[in-house]
Subunit: 314 residues, 2 copies
Amino acid sequence: MSKFLGIDIGGTNVSYAIVDENGEFANENSIMTSTIGSVEELADTIYEAIKSDLKGLEGIGIGAPSVNIQTQQIEYAPNLNWGDVIPIKDIFQSRFDLPVVVINDANAAAYGEKFFGGAVDMDHFAVITLGTGIGLGMFINGEIVNGSNGLAGEIGHSIVQLDGRECNCGKFGCLETYIAKDGIIQTAKELLEFSSGGSLLQKISPSDITPLEIFKAARKEDPVSLEVVDAVTKYLALGVSNLINILDIEHVFLSGGIAKSGNILKRKTDKYLKTFVLPNLRDKFDLRISEINDKNGAILGSAALAKQKFEAVH
Amino acid sequence: MSKFLGIDIGGTNVSYAIVDENGEFANENSIMTSTIGSVEELADTIYEAIKSDLKGLEGIGIGAPSVNIQTQQIEYAPNLNWGDVIPIKDIFQSRFDLPVVVINDANAAAYGEKFFGGAVDMDHFAVITLGTGIGLGMFINGEIVNGSNGLAGEIGHSIVQLDGRECNCGKFGCLETYIAKDGIIQTAKELLEFSSGGSLLQKISPSDITPLEIFKAARKEDPVSLEVVDAVTKYLALGVSNLINILDIEHVFLSGGIAKSGNILKRKTDKYLKTFVLPNLRDKFDLRISEINDKNGAILGSAALAKQKFEAVH
């Protein structure tokens, strides 16, 4: 049975696993990104952790933010501190002596959904990853969308509010500033400041307020948290509705850490979608939580892409 | 030489021409849409006008708004008053006894650009039609984008302003309400009402204020008109930037009546695009006025599609 190493590099964690052809994981592990000083160190760390299981490994797939698929480098990733231009393919290839393919983390999630998740039979779908940043991977007409320069998918930097919040990218009003991790926390802190009633969020230290804590409090009907969730789902629905209105994409999967907040996220986003999507498309789309979100779509997808590219004829 | 009839149905005018394989037009004509009571009447009118030149005609391509490409009908077009569901393919087929293909008017413009315009060698491009409504036709990975239900391209109904202007579609803040014909006129009237200084627009009767008059006055530095053009180009740039950020579409063509306002439209939209597009994509896109805008991209494109589908082997 063929085996491939899938690696998902995120702003908060690097996760990896050896994936077999049924999508089963072995040696699954996660490292805090901030504890890793360089990509060379990352390659060494993963190599050491799995070196007793390298036998039979046929290739490596890496999903990362800000990937230039043409150069196979990470270029100017705002949420990584490993340098401006990182030749990540070359570094892993020489450390492991195996073929390596690098893709955008959100495209990796889309490959994961296509090969092992809910999109197996779909020609048109999108996967939105919700976490430290916001990613988007799409299949249109049965093909992955990389765009003219391999840089497609930056829905997190589509503008949802003219002259809105300042974004790390230097622009104003990007979707990411409202629905990615820091944006959600910012909304909570702004609302707490002006809130006269109490909030469950005041019982935790401000530095411990996370999206998951906020969603948890919202499920307990905490008014401030409900307001935060309302704002998040309104902007998320705005972004998703633009995909549906512009591309008539029927299936949109939500993936990533924040998508684990589950039913309340989907339910409230659906409510806003009903008012943001064109009337004649309102019964023609389907928002769902990724079916492989308990696993890790980007690990699965990058391993699946490596399989597709490198699998030896057995 | 093969010949095809191309028809472009718009909210204001229906235009048509017999198109030869070099993209040259014969029998070109235009009828005001409001003077036509039904699609049967439209088919009769065009038939009568060109009946002496029917010889050699091999098929008909029709570009229209709100086309369902699966049923080949016009369905619930907000800017046409010919009934809810119009079996336009069948009506023209039986009137002309020729094969007919119907597509979305903006997709027709994209086909026109692809076969006869500036996009001949492009795999990723978009054509935005600016007129009574706002249309969008796209090629991604070398293929036209129809979407899951044949309804892709509704960028005019992407939301650019939360809780913004009410749209004919029932939603609020749609791009169309700011940059389509009526939206531009509304902005001008709102600004005129609160303007203390004079304006060239006050010298024409309010009912004669059109986008072209506004752009003309803006070129003469009329302050109110410049403000209108500023608002229009800001929202247009917002819509275009979302395409670029999300799809990494390098080439965006502006087409349709309002695109004929020319250089000032492109120049000011470009200015806003520089602040709305992600920094790493800012030197990787190209906004231009359609190269076939003096002709009629939708006539050309629908005729080209008919040629592709129906051309007999000679």
